[in-house]
């Protein structure tokens, strides 16, 4: 795929927009892609890495991905310029059942670099805003600089039909920071969204998910109304290479999207 746009979200975090070079490939993507699915992005000579498709199913002219420059592949991706070609395999995995969210209030909770998969669901819903009730987004990062999609955060903050709660970890605030200071689970409990007729979608580092699930339980959310996506290390994406399983569940085939009820049935120490 060709890189047609790229910009930095936070230190070391980059978003790229990719366009298909082959019409048949694009057609296949349009037919199969649903929000929640992931792909393997690669640079020949360096290898492949797994990230979600950060763009929503309502916008299929391109693929957007957001990644942190960390290892060999992500460094090569970060070095790739507009016009360069990179590889994409996918889309793989299951999806968020967005039709089932129609008529419900939505609560999105995300931390740090995990906003991309949440953002894909957020836009899938905001692009057909009339089908959903109240939309609340709780997003936090370690520091103000680490918040990703800053331009979209501004857009959501300005929208009257979106309630955005932003927070940074204590010590991560800048002098002009006007939003919350505190960890995501704490801030979530303070915001206290009602569990009535509400679907929660949470994405974040494993430690954030663990404590956020506890907070959601306190707020009265039923585990079957809470969705998350498990981003395990993967190589094949086809249920063969053997590393992404949590207990008997193959994240690449049966996931990456699970309800909290499904996650609760997985062995916690293997997450």
């Amino acid at each position: 795929m060709k890189i047609v746009g790229r910009h930095d979200e936070a230190p070391g975090v980059r978003t790229m927009r990719l366009e298909f070079q082959d019409a048949a490939d694009h057609e296949f993507f349009k037919e199969t892609y649903r929000t929640g699915m992931f792909g393997l992005y690669g640079v020949y000579g360096e290898g492949e890495s797994t990230f979600c498709v950060a763009s929503p199913e309502t916008r299929k002219d391109y693929i957007e991905c957001t990644f942190r420059q960390s290892g060999r592949v992500t460094s090569a991706l970060a070095n790739a310029d507009i016009g360069d070609l990179i590889t994409f395999r996918g889309p793989y995995g299951n999806r968020f059942p967005i039709e089932e969210f129609h008529g419900k209030n939505l609560l999105f909770i995300s931390g740090g670099i995990a906003l991309p998969p949440t953002r894909s669901v957020i836009w899938s819903c905001l692009d057909q805003r009339e089908k959903f009730g109240k939309v609340t987004i709780v997003y936090g990062a370690r520091t103000v600089a680490d918040l990703v999609y800053k331009h979209e955060l501004e857009e959501w903050q300005e929208r009257s039909d979106v309630d955005l709660v932003l927070t940074v970890d204590p010590g991560g605030e800048s002098p002009d920071w006007k939003n919350r200071i505190g960890f995501v689970p704490t801030v979530l409990e303070e915001a206290a969204p009602s569990p009535d007729n509400c679907i929660a979608v949470i994405c974040g580092p494993p430690i954030m998910i663990k404590f956020t699930l506890i907070s959601l339980k306190k707020l009265g959310f039923d585990e079957s109304n809470v969705y998350t996506t498990l981003e395990n290390r993967m190589k094949c994406g086809l249920g063969k290479c053997g590393r992404c399983n949590v207990g008997s569940v193959y994240v690449c085939k049966e996931g990456p999207v699970f309800t909290a009820a499904e996650v609760a049935r997985m062995p916690a120490s293997d997450l």
């Binding site: 000579g45 053997g242 207990g247």
Partner: protein, 337 residues
């Protein structure tokens, strides 16, 4: 009367198969390691081994194989898919645990996406298995509900005659029958009977082990730490295992040309599951050993209705610190009583 292949005629068979276009492969000694390799003459075959050091898996799922070659040009990238070198072959002298191991992995490689590398080789291979008349302390096929003469995964099963002068021929599949048509006139009718099979002692009760493994409470048992304390994470067990199938995909090359390869990987390695963030779902050696046992006897059978172990015992036989599936399941057997 049964059909017999006499040992002194084996070289004629090798010649016949070769002239029919088949590559003849069998157990051989190479650089102090016994393995399966192509041979020109029957004399090269080492059919007296209890089991080769390396498993038959190497022939179907090599340690490293190219998946595609790429050439980066100014405006485009050319790629060539690399399928395995094709050609029919006959594997003579596999052991039942190795042959059944390949049948065990068929549903995994055929699940959802059909792995063409695996199935091309499977479809082009005739497996002639020789039943075991000898076993060692590590053999455990009977504990896995198999036997020294299991025909699972075999196209032809040979039962050794007493005195080692030949084999009783049992054709198992059409592919096996087809390959043996070319040597019909070499086979002889005889009333000779097969030698007694190896006695392989039952080492644990599989059903009670599986029940113990399926109990979620036992996932957190102290047992996992104790049993895996010695594991050094070398991955020998997974690499020598006929059914372990985990792999990695890596690129190898320079800026403009190179190869994307599929290489064996192992659940014994910490890097296997390590996230970019540094978080590792299976961060300890005990979690990794638990994964290996759970995968073989709980997760895999849950998906494919077959245990991912054929009882060859290589994991115990060649473990540098004397661990293995046998010891682990023996201990679980005790715990579950």
């Amino acid at each position: 009367m049964t059909k017999i292949l006499f040992s002194d005629k084996l070289d004629n068979c090798v010649e016949r198969w070769k002239s029919a276009g088949l590559t003849v492969i069998g157990p051989v000694q190479r650089a102090n390691i016994s393995t399966y390799a192509a041979v020109e003459h029957a004399a090269e075959l080492d059919l007296g081994l209890i089991l080769t050091d390396r498993s038959i898996k190497d022939l179907f799922f090599p340690q490293s194989e190219p998946m595609l070659r790429y050439t980066i040009k100014k405006e485009s990238i050319d790629t060539d898919e690399c399928l395995p070198p094709s050609g029919p072959r006959i594997i003579f002298g596999a052991r039942p645990c190795d042959s059944s191991g390949m049948a065990i992995d068929d549903p995994l490689f055929g699940w959802d996406y059909k792995d063409e590398y695996w199935f091309q080789r499977r479809n082009e291979s005739v497996i002639v298995t020789i039943a075991c008349t000898k076993a060692d302390d590590f053999c455990m096929c009977t504990s896995l509900k198999m036997a020294p003469d299991s025909s699972k995964g075999s196209d032809v099963l040979l039962r050794p005659l007493a005195g080692g002068k030949g084999w009783v021929v049992e054709e198992v599949t059409d592919r096996g029958r087809e390959a043996f048509k070319t040597i019909t006139d070499i086979l002889q009718e005889s009333s000779d009977t097969a030698a007694p099979l190896a006695v392989v002692e039952k080492k644990f009760d599989l059903d009670s082990c599986v029940t113990w493994l399926q109990n979620p409470e036992n996932f957190e048992s102290r047992f996992w730490k104790e049993i895996s304390m010695r594991c050094i994470g070398c991955a020998s067990c997974t690499f020598l295992c006929p059914t372990c199938h985990c792999f990695d995909i890596q690129d190898e090359g320079d800026t403009y040309t190179g190869i994307r390869r599929k290489n064996w990987d192992s659940c014994s390695f910490a890097l296997f599951t390590m996230h970019t963030s540094g978080h590792n779902p299976r961060s300890t050696q005990s979690a990794r050993w638990r994964q290996r046992i759970m995968h073989k006897f709980n997760y895999f059978p849950g998906k494919f209705s077959v245990n991912s172990c054929s009882g060859c015992g290589r994991c115990s036989r060649q473990c540098p610190v004397d661990m293995g599936i046998t010891e682990t399941l023996q201990e679980i057997s005790k715990l579950s009583q």
